[in-house]
């Protein structure tokens, strides 16, 4: 029950769901972490405790509950600032998730800054959340959405970036820091360097990176940065958008409503200070507070340890999977360039059928297009199966998974 890096037994005790039996009384093997992770009892209790003891709307009342709830909500902002190492807490905006964060940028920054004929540049391995908002924007503005290609190793073809930058029409380059299908870690430093040379803004979709490796925004030096709490031990319904203050100050608001205003008059209104200008309406108070406990939990383990553990597990799984005849693995074999996400196909078994079969053995993986249909087209498959790991997963669980894959092969007579 141990990789060399972290004490998994202790960790597993914090996740009550891992004791659960599924289907025919099989222990749960949860390998669907790229979709959402499980939550430690510390997070679950923190939400519980909020509702039991100090539930209140925030920011605008003087009574004690409001005071306590406001302080706890704002404390999470401080913790996020520390977690990704940024200086100005007011640059952090709480949203529902990565999807809303990217849409916020598209609506507020994009509609102001992207004009007819401009290019928004994304990549072939994006999640739909980092494609569709830009399709909507570029269609409205008669601008163009273009794609950096993916090579056969599952890495971006960065030469194409420069060709696009040379047109002088690129306004934004936006990419996933880690592919949710291939696990590829994008060479973000290089892309950002090239873009900033030409004054082009960069958005980093960090939904899959922040949960799995140390990210330091003062080093990364991008312009927009988005991620989701539910993919890093936190509650559903919380995400974070970070952007530079100078950019946020010049952006139009996104949603209008309570909390984001300074003064409302019938015919004109002024905006509140950052970050509130972008947090309209009652936020998801309980879950933002719960997210604090998730950040504490990860800080406690240490993100470098998280990454090491996942590398060890992924290596182990890849080696075992390669012994299965008929398996096709996607993505790079270079562990330095990938995270703990393994996409594969097994013979002619459709991923949906595979997932159903191994679910019978208690193994939860994801199958389908993973909200990355553009990448599916590139890989020329309609779907893949995907196993993705987190801090509580073990080599023993990988063994169960491997045995289950072999059973699927037998059932499909291959």
């Amino acid at each position: 029950m141990q990789t060399s890096t972290i004490n998994i037994e202790n960790i597993r005790r914090d996740f009550p769901i891992l004791q659960r039996k599924v289907r025919n009384n099989k222990p749960l093997v949860y390998f669907d972490n790229a979709a959402t992770t499980q939550k430690p009892i510390q997070v679950i209790n923190s939400i519980h405790n909020y509702y039991l003891n100090y539930n209140s709307n925030i920011h605008r009342a003087v009574h004690q509950l409001a005071e306590e709830a406001t302080a706890a909500y704002e404390l999470t902002r401080d913790k996020v600032a520390k977690f990704i190492n940024i200086k100005n807490r007011e640059e952090l905006i709480f949203v529902r998730g990565t999807t809303e964060a990217i849409n916020l940028v598209s609506y507020s920054w994009g509609r102001q800054n992207v004009q007819k004929g401009d290019i928004v540049l994304t990549t072939e391995y994006e999640h739909h959340s980092n494609i569709v908002p830009w399709q909507l924007l570029t269609k409205e503005k008669e601008a163009k959405l273009e794609y950096i290609g993916v090579d056969d190793n599952g890495e971006l073809i960065l030469d194409q970036l420069n060709a696009y930058l040379d047109t002088g029409r690129v306004k934004l380059v936006t990419f996933s820091h880690m592919s949710n299908v291939l696990g590829t870690i994008t060479n973000a430093d290089e892309i950002i360097k090239q873009c900033h040379k030409k004054g082009v803004k960069v958005l980093v979709d960090a939904a899959q990176s922040v949960p799995h490796m140390k990210v330091d925004l003062q080093k990364l030096d991008c312009d927009f940065f988005a991620f989701s709490a539910h993919k890093m031990l936190g509650p559903t319904g919380v995400g974070v958008l970070w952007a530079r203050k100078a950019i946020l100050e010049n952006m139009q608001p996104f949603n209008g409503g309570g909390d984001m205003i300074r003064e409302v008059h019938k015919y004109e209104t002024t905006w509140n200070d950052l970050p509130y200008k972008f947090e309209a309406g009652t936020p998801n108070i309980a879950d933002v507070i719960g997210f604090s406990a998730a950040l504490d939990y990860l800080e406690n383990i240490g993100m470098d340890k998280v990454r090491e553990h996942e590398i060890e597990l992924t290596k182990y799984a890849l080696e075992k999977m390669l012994t299965i005849k008929g398996i096709k693995l996607y993505g790079t074999p270079d562990m330095k360039k990938r995270g703990g996400v393994i996409s594969f196909n097994l013979g002619d078994i459709h991923p949906h059928d595979l997932a159903t079969i191994i679910d019978e053995d208690g193994v939860a993986i994801r199958s389908g297009h993973h909200c990355a249909q553009v990448l599916m087209e590139r890989l020329d498959v309609s779907a893949t199966s995907r196993a993705s790991f987190y801090i509580y997963n073990t080599k023993e669980e990988v063994d169960v998974f491997i045995r289950s894959l072999n059973r699927a092969k037998e059932l499909f007579r291959i």
């Binding site: 949906h352 159903t356 779907a383 499909f412």
Partner: protein, 146 residues
């Protein structure tokens, strides 16, 4: 249902060797749809003669259940009276597949072909037969499948 029950020899055979796979040129009925959840795609072509299904073909990508279901459906309706085809139900399809108890996650796979068929009939009945009353009923059935 256990996987062993689902992935019987016959389902795998229809998955790997689909009957009536292909297209018809200028078909009377032609419909394509996809399942937004899993990405399965299906297109169905049908010709009618004297109110009977004179030819039917399908193409598609997807799981064993969806593709076997589509192929078996084409066999089921080939040569049949159009009225019979119009009345096919969810239960007919699942029984024909031999998978009466599919769980909620996979039943959509089995029913995609029926959905495509019903939407195809809907277009035909409303556009070519101008029978909007029947058409609306069929559309409602189709959208109620999942």
């Amino acid at each position: 249902m256990s996987s062993a029950d689902i992935y019987r020899e016959i389902i795998l055979d229809y998955y790997r060797n689909p009957r009536n796979y292909g297209k018809i040129e200028n078909p009377d009925i032609s419909k394509r749809d996809s399942n937004p959840l899993c990405g399965d795609e299906l297109e169905m072509h049908i010709n009618l003669k004297n109110n009977l299904v004179s030819d039917v073909k399908f193409t598609g990508k997807g799981c064993a259940i969806s593709q076997a279901s589509a192929s078996m459906l084409t066999e089921l309706i080939m040569g049949k009276d159009f009225e019979y085809v119009k009345k096919l139900t969810k239960e007919d399809i699942l029984e024909n597949l031999g998978l009466p108890d599919l769980g909620p996650a996979r039943i959509k796979c089995a029913l995609l072909s029926l959905k495509v068929l019903k939407y195809g009939i809907y277009s035909y009945v409303s556009e070519k037969l101008n029978d909007t009353t029947s058409a609306d009923k069929i559309k409602e059935e189709a959208s109620g499948l999942f």
